[in-house]
Amino acid sequence: MRGRLLTILLLAPAAIASLVFVYLFIAWTFYASLTSWNAIRPLKGLLPDFPIIGLANYQTLFATQRFWPNDVFNTAVFTVAFIILSVAIGLLLAILLDQHIRGEVLFRNIFLLPMALSFVVTATIWAWIFNPNTGINQLLDPLGINAVRTGLLSFAPLKPLWDVLDFLRIDVLRLGLTTDPRAALGAVVIAATWQMSGFVMAMFLAGLRGVSEELREAARVDGATERQIYVHVLIPQLRPVLVSVIVILGYISLKIFDLVFIMTRGGPGIATDVPSIFMYLSAFQSQLYALAASIAIVMLIVSAIVVIPYMWSQLRSEGQA
């Protein structure tokens, strides 16, 4: 069977690389998370020379305030706020560009531009913009932004709203977003949204353009206004695209590291700390390897819960095509 041999040869490099460097590493991490390897000591071979203590690290992890509730809370708020903002902005921009306005291609390019930048560059730019001494407050000072800001914040009827936003750490009207624990998470969300909403726009635009012209025409003949066509005909057609968008953005949120690490280092305090940063610092600064490994495993499990059902449905629909 020459074909079979050839197939194996063609697939071997990719398969071996992923088996060793991903699945073996995951298995290793899981093993390490069951040991008491929370101190510096040279490895014996490639496995930690520490006794297995079962799930104790996971117990410690969930008894650590920094992780539970803090990191989990931050990840949840970040994920929800990031998805809502990106989907809202992306959908609005997609509908705008769907109007066949002049310069559509140029605008689409510009909206997609941030996506090509690295999270590192995005984080650097936005850290600067949100710096209380250099950034947005100063830039918009001539427009009286600070008066508006303080006015809104002290406007009594809105106080419950600010309290909620303060609690969620996304009160972006505060001064110096990255240095105020009540606002810092909002700063990170804005930077992430800036980077990814163009991508959401492009996904939705592709979805809108995929709806047949006849369908729109039929609605128009029935006397529907443009707005009704969007609300009742086009947007419902975007459901599958929306699912893809939410899963991809959700996955980005769960593994977010570079953006937060560079913008705030998880601070001020632990106001923007997320599991990947906690894991990184536990392992490479505090030498709490086993604890770090347990964070990694929790992250992997949560990612899998989000992504696996989606992957199966993708593969099923592909099989049917």
Partner: protein, 294 residues
């Protein structure tokens, strides 16, 4: 599903004209929306570029300088020579080009095998797709220990191999989708005429796949060029890619915003050019093929 169409080299024709009856208010709403969008997306980039050409005295002035009266290019020479930007360009280039090139060759072959011989079925596809959704930080500890056991932390080979573990499944996934949509008749007639599998692949399939290969390769290059999480785990100061250097510049006592902006611009320029060249493919690639038509 017309995904083959989505990777054709020619841009789609002008969008189908349809009579649009638009009220004056909705026209103004559109213009306002686009204007706000442009400011939101462009201002941060504009600010990075303009800061990169300002002299130190103008970095932090109040009110800020929006249009500098002259170009101060010393930020760029500082970034390139004092901050190691030149070395960063070299290291980023070596790592990203190697990982992309190796990933493209191995990944395209594997994708072709998967698409044509239907080995493994859904399980293998699932396996590959699962690699794409792997948070890199989550395997950071064994990654670091593995390479330090080999004495290869802070080397090109460690970074290239680690980048490959993400580049390979990406290439396999996108190219597999492409090959599956490619009609098989011409390949089969070549096979009937006595060509070997590899010959048919080389002579018939690859020429047709060129646009898809270019798009996938450039996207993989962007990912590798921008990668940070693995670089920060495996770099100790000898192999320093640009994303690794940039955050270290913010740790100094007096933050040199002009130098930082210049370094960010140097790092962003190659990928921005690429993104403009292939924005049509960007979305399909970045959605891991979730969006298959344009």
């Amino acid at each position: 599903m017309n995904s083959a169409g989505s990777v054709s080299p020619t841009p789609p024709g002008p969008a189908m004209q349809r009579p649009v009856t638009r009220s004056r208010t909705s026209l103004w709403a559109s213009i306002l929306g686009v204007a706000i969008g442009l400011v939101f997306f462009l201002f941060p980039i504009y600010w990075m570029l303009v800061t990169s050409v300002k002299p130190p005295s103008e970095w932090l002035t109040n009110p800020p300088v929006f249009i500098p009266d002259r170009l101060y290019l010393q930020n760029y020479t500082d970034a390139l020579f004092n901050w190691g930007g030149l070395k960063g360009l070299e290291d980023s280039g070596i790592v990203a080009v190697s990982a992309t090139a190796i990933g493209m060759v191995l990944g395209t072959l594997a994708a072709y095998a998967l698409a044509r011989f239907r080995v493994g079925g859904t399980n293998l596809s699932f396996f590959i797709l699962s690699l794409l959704f792997m948070p890199p930080v989550a395997i950071g500890i064994p990654m670091f220990l593995f390479w330090s056991a080999l004495g290869l932390v802070d080397t090109y080979i460690a970074l290239v191999v680690q980048y490959l573990t993400f580049t390979l499944p990406f290439v396999v996934w996108v190219m597999k989708g492409f090959f599956e949509d490619l009609p098989v008749d011409r390949e089969e007639s070549a096979l009937v005429n006595g060509a070997s599998r590899l010959r048919a692949f080389w002579d018939v399939v690859l020429p047709n796949a060129r646009p898809a290969l270019v798009a996938t390769g450039l996207l993989a290059f962007i990912f590798n060029w921008n990668e940070f999480s693995i670089a920060v785990l495996l770099s100790r100061g000898r192999v320093t890619t640009l994303p690794f250097i940039l955050p270290t510049m913010m740790e100094s006592h007096y933050v040199l915003w002009g130098d930082i902006a210049a370094m960010a611009a140097v790092g962003a320029l190659p990928v921005v050019i690429i993104a403009f060249l292939l924005q049509r493919y960007l979305v399909r690639g970045l959605s891991f093929g979730a969006i298959r038509s344009e």
